[in-house]
């Protein structure tokens, strides 16, 4: 009989990046790479586990922007084109490495991976990835949860209509793709502020997940630490992240991903190979980038890297899965003896950590799920909603405002690099609310304009932009995106108020920022 539970939660999200105005757009590769390295491999793992009749009991958040991209015809076409190009590169690599056996094997590995990915995507899944994920949810193996519409960092939006709109869009996008009401929500960056649960309740959500101290610092003191569910005053269940299990996976130093046998992320042929040779496969304007083809293992704290050995790495992944399971067993045994109820260990991760960052992470996950099923009896996998069925009676707490970002609060999204965003964003939000009230019965072109304005506001709110400005990665792109969406917003506002519009411009904006086609601007009404 199990003594406690492990809830593995994966948060899959990318900001909405889609640029039909360009033939090829570098930032769209984020999506293509995540598809190849994380999302499709995850589906393959699900398929194998399903074939072996293992209930993998995983919680997965697919953010609404990610769903929109997975569902987008243009991006699908471009993804196939991308895969073809990668296959072409792999073919060249197989030839080029013919007299270097250790690299040759790896070149073949990548070739087969890309080929297999293309087959899966085009023929097996028929380019409908969301349907595949839904399939496992319908079978009861997977619990898909939603996220705020464009992953806006809710504690800094300030405007209650804006917060409500983010959540409502998250819910309606979910219903569209998964034909049911979401049970849980992944709060963007686990960002919580006092009173947020009210909006969650209004949208019919049942639970959310917080960073460790979001639960630990609750008032009154939460009896079970982060090892149980709680209710907020409005009876929305809340779970807190377990720091121990997080650290062993997240930390690049102490954690598993730093093992010397694992693949080295930073050595990539995009940077290593002769410029003329690699040029057709890097960024359209000739800047070297990561291609995803990497031949070395971490090796050690040295710049001199040795060739990657997939079999060795796989063995390590199995070993690490065993170690992770063992530690959770011990943890659960101990907690069970102290708490007097079966503890839940909540272990959330960014999905892209697996496969993309930590190449062997997908294997690790599969080993872990299989080992838990067959090698022990102390722990069982669980989803938050199943845990709530076991323990419907919970302490009521007032969770603490927090986030899972660096330093634990809001600073990542509010500092010298990105604070300029808020005066614009807050005012635009207010303007949106006013207009949504004023033009509430509009139809025809006015309604179209208002709906597009709602999309633009939502896009400008993505926390990803502020995050990129903070980490100074693609910050120029992030700034442009923030400004462009607000500019679109004001342009459309102008049309609306002057009752004079350029139809072509409106169509052009609609065509570019085409997510959430069913959106109703009325979500911004107060």
């Amino acid at each position: 009989m199990e003594k406690g539970y492990l809830a593995l939660i994966l948060h899959a999200h990318l900001p909405f990046v889609r640029h039909p105005e360009y033939e090829e757009f570098l930032e769209e590769r984020w999506f293509f790479e995540a598809l190849t390295e994380t999302y499709i491999p995850l589906l393959e793992v699900f398929e194998r586990l399903d074939n072996d009749r293992i209930d993998f009991c995983l919680t997965l958040n697919l953010s609404p922007t990610l769903c929109s991209m997975m569902d987008d015809q243009l991006l699908k076409e471009r993804y196939v084109r991308y895969l073809d190009k990668m296959i072409e590169l792999c073919e060249k690599e197989i030839e080029r490495t013919r007299f270097s056996p250790s690299f040759h094997k790896l070149a073949l590995m990548y070739y087969y991976r890309f080929r297999k990915t293309k087959d899966k995507f085009c023929y097996h899944y028929n380019q409908e990835l969301l349907r595949e994920f839904k399939k496992y949810q319908d079978k009861g193996f997977l619990e898909i949860i939603t996220c705020a519409g464009t992953h806006g960092f809710l504690p800094l939006l300030m405007n209650k209509e804006a917060v409500k709109a983010q959540i409502q869009v998250g819910v309606s996008s979910y219903i569209k793709y998964f034909s049911s009401h979401p049970k849980g929500i992944w709060l963007p960056e686990c960002g919580y502020f006092e009173g947020l649960d009210k909006f969650l309740k209004e949208c019919g959500l049942k639970y959310f997940i917080l960073e460790t101290h979001g639960v630990l610092f609750s008032r009154p003191r939460p009896k079970f630490g982060v090892y149980s569910s709680y209710y907020t005053k409005r009876r929305i269940a809340v779970f807190g992240r377990d720091p121990e299990s997080s650290k062993s996976v997240w930390s690049s130093i102490e954690g598993y991903p730093g093992d010397y046998n694992y693949r080295e992320y930073y050595r990539d042929i995009g940077f290593d190979l002769d410029y003329d040779y690699i040029k057709p496969y890097i960024s359209p304007c000739g800047v070297r980038i990561f291609t995803g083809i990497k031949y070395y293992k971490i090796t050690g704290p040295t710049p001199y890297k040795e060739p990657y050995l997939p079999e060795e790495a796989k063995k390590k992944a199995a070993e690490h899965a065993g170690n992770f399971m063992f530690n959770r067993e011990k943890q659960v045994e101990y907690l069970y003896s102290v708490l007097g109820r079966k503890p839940i260990i909540v272990a959330p991760y960014d999905a892209e950590l697996f496969g993309h960052w930590w190449f062997e992470g997908i294997d690790w996950l599969q080993f872990l799920i299989r080992k838990i099923r067959y090698d022990q009896e102390n722990i069982k996998l669980i989803t938050p909603s199943r845990y709530l069925k076991l323990y419907p009676k919970n302490q009521a707490i007032n969770p603490a405002p927090s986030s899972w970002g660096w330093k634990g609060y809001y600073e990542v999204w509010l500092n010298g690099s990105n604070d300029w965003v808020y005066p614009h964003l807050h005012r635009a939000q207010e303007a949106m609310v006013k207009l949504a009230n004023k033009y509430k019965d509009s139809d025809g072109i006015k309604r179209r304009i208002l709906n597009q304005m709602a999309r633009e506001i939502l896009l400008a709110q993505s926390s990803d932009w502020a995050f990129m400005m903070k980490t100074n990665t693609f910050s120029e792109y992030a700034r442009k995106r923030t400004v462009v969406h607000l500019e679109h917003f004001y342009l459309l506002k102008n049309y609306l108020e002057k009752n004079f519009y350029n139809f072509e411009v409106l169509e052009d904006i609609e065509r570019k920022d085409n997510l959430f086609p069913e959106i109703e601007f009325s979500i911004f009404q107060s």
């Binding site: 999200h13 757009f25 030839e95 007299f99 690299f103 800094l156 300030m158 460790t212 101290h213 630990l216 610092f217 009154p220 003191r221 009896k223 630490g225 720091p243 121990e244 997080s246 650290k247 690049s252 991903p257 930073y266 002769d274 304007c285 000739g286 800047v287 070297r288 980038i289 990561f290 708490l339 892209e352 950590l353 302490q395 405002p401 899972w404 970002g405 660096w406 634990g408 609060y409 809001y410 600073e411 010298g416 690099s417 604070d419 300029w420 005066p423 614009h424 926390s463 990803d464 980490t471 100074n472 990665t473 693609f474 120029e476 792109y477 400004v483 500019e487 102008n494 411009v505 904006i509």
Partner: protein, 357 residues
């Protein structure tokens, strides 16, 4: 080429734009000064001197890249390390651009963490002159901009004079925003921006919303229905040896937790595809050399050519070229061409020796 000129043009435009912003700011400062001179007997020196010294407004729009916050602590790093941003979205629809200022006379207060708040303001000249003109002439001298930060915890209807306490901060009005260290978690705060004269008299312009700093630390409040013994409680947090007295314990616990949170032991600080591992340290001086071998040639366009028994695709003119990574060692490349009718064969075998001195 086209791109380059476009970029140049863009930067010229933005320079122009910057210039106009500065000019506008300057003219505004001038007109303001004149107004003030008219209103007051003497020039209110401190109030506007700062503008003279720093005519560059901190425009609310994009701060230059690389001017990222002064955080010296490690920044979690991106996936796209070492990458410049090659693609820039051009201004898609001309003309419209975000307002630099809104002049809507407001100040907004945001929480940043349990100890810090952030505020931004945007105030019109009319409002400034309105307030200045309402100040008796003899009190106008030496006015300076301040933020008055009120602790309004538990205050039901804050009117400006019924706060629990307050403190003032000297500010640069042009900065447009400020980070405020209140150092007190779980309190309600409100700020006012205004003038203060040397006699300590305060003339507020606008008041902010009320906001609360997040709470910090494990609560003392215990729910009777849900109690776990202190000893056990600390253990489940993975914290031992806290000391004997409960006060000592709490203090130590708080320190540990504060350290854990700020060092990222609790929060991974990882929050998207763009960040995970630490960026690799930039290497100092180094040299790396690899070698590749190119074999190229020409045959009858219809011939079959094999290199080390692997067929090579010929271009329509019969040329071919092959490229191999060349590790250390001796290599032979047996190249065989067979005529279309399979009657003739030509064999050439270049050899290569690659070593390193």
């Amino acid at each position: 080429m086209k791109k380059n000129t476009k970029k140049k043009r863009e930067s010229a435009i933005s320079r122009k734009r910057k210039k106009t912003v500065i000019q506008r700011a300057k003219t505004r400062v001038k007109t303001l000064k004149r107004k003030i001179e008219r209103i007051g007997k003497k020039r209110t020196s401190t109030l506007y001197k700062k503008k003279e010294n720093s005519p560059l407004l901190k425009t609310p729009l994009p701060t230059p890249v690389g001017k990222i916050s002064a955080d010296k602590e490690k920044v979690e790093v991106s996936k796209f390390v070492g990458l410049k941003e090659p693609q820039i979205i051009p201004q898609e629809i001309g003309e419209i651009s975000l307002p630099q200022k809104y002049y809507d006379n407001r100040i907004t207060l945001l929480p940043r963490d349990p100890w810090w708040l952030h505020t931004y303001w945007d105030i019109s000249e009319t409002k400034i002159s309105e307030v200045v003109s309402s100040i008796p002439i003899y009190e106008r001298e030496g006015l300076k901009w301040i933020l008055r930060v009120y602790d309004v915890t538990g205050v039901k209807d804050f009117r400006g004079d019924n706060a629990n306490s307050f403190f003032d901060i000297d500010i640069h009005f042009e900065a447009g925003n400020w980070y405020i260290n209140v150092d007190k978690p779980e309190r309600d705060w409100c700020v006012e921006i205004g003038f203060k004269n040397p006699y300590g008299k305060f003339f507020p312009l606008v008041r902010s919303n009320i906001t609360k700093t997040p709470c910090f630390g494990i609560s003392n409040v215990v729910d009777e229905e849900w109690i776990l013994g202190e000893e056990d409680y600390y253990k489940i947090l993975g914290i031992y040896d806290l000391g004997k007295s409960s006060l000592e314990r709490r203090k130590k616990l708080e320190e540990i937790i504060k350290h854990q949170i700020s060092s990222g032991a609790f929060s991974g600080g990882i929050s998207s595809l763009f960040s995970f591992m630490k960026k690799e340290e930039a290497r100092k001086f180094f040299l790396e050399v690899w070698t590749e071998l190119i074999i190229y040639g020409r045959a009858h366009p219809k011939a079959t050519v094999e290199v080390e028994k692997k067929r090579v695709n010929l271009r329509s003119d019969g040329t071919f070229s092959l490229r191999y990574a060349l590790p250390e060692g001796d290599f032979e490349f047996k190249i065989v061409a067979t005529s279309p009718d399979k009657k003739e064969r030509i064999k050439i075998t270049p050899t290569v020796k690659r070593g390193t001195k």
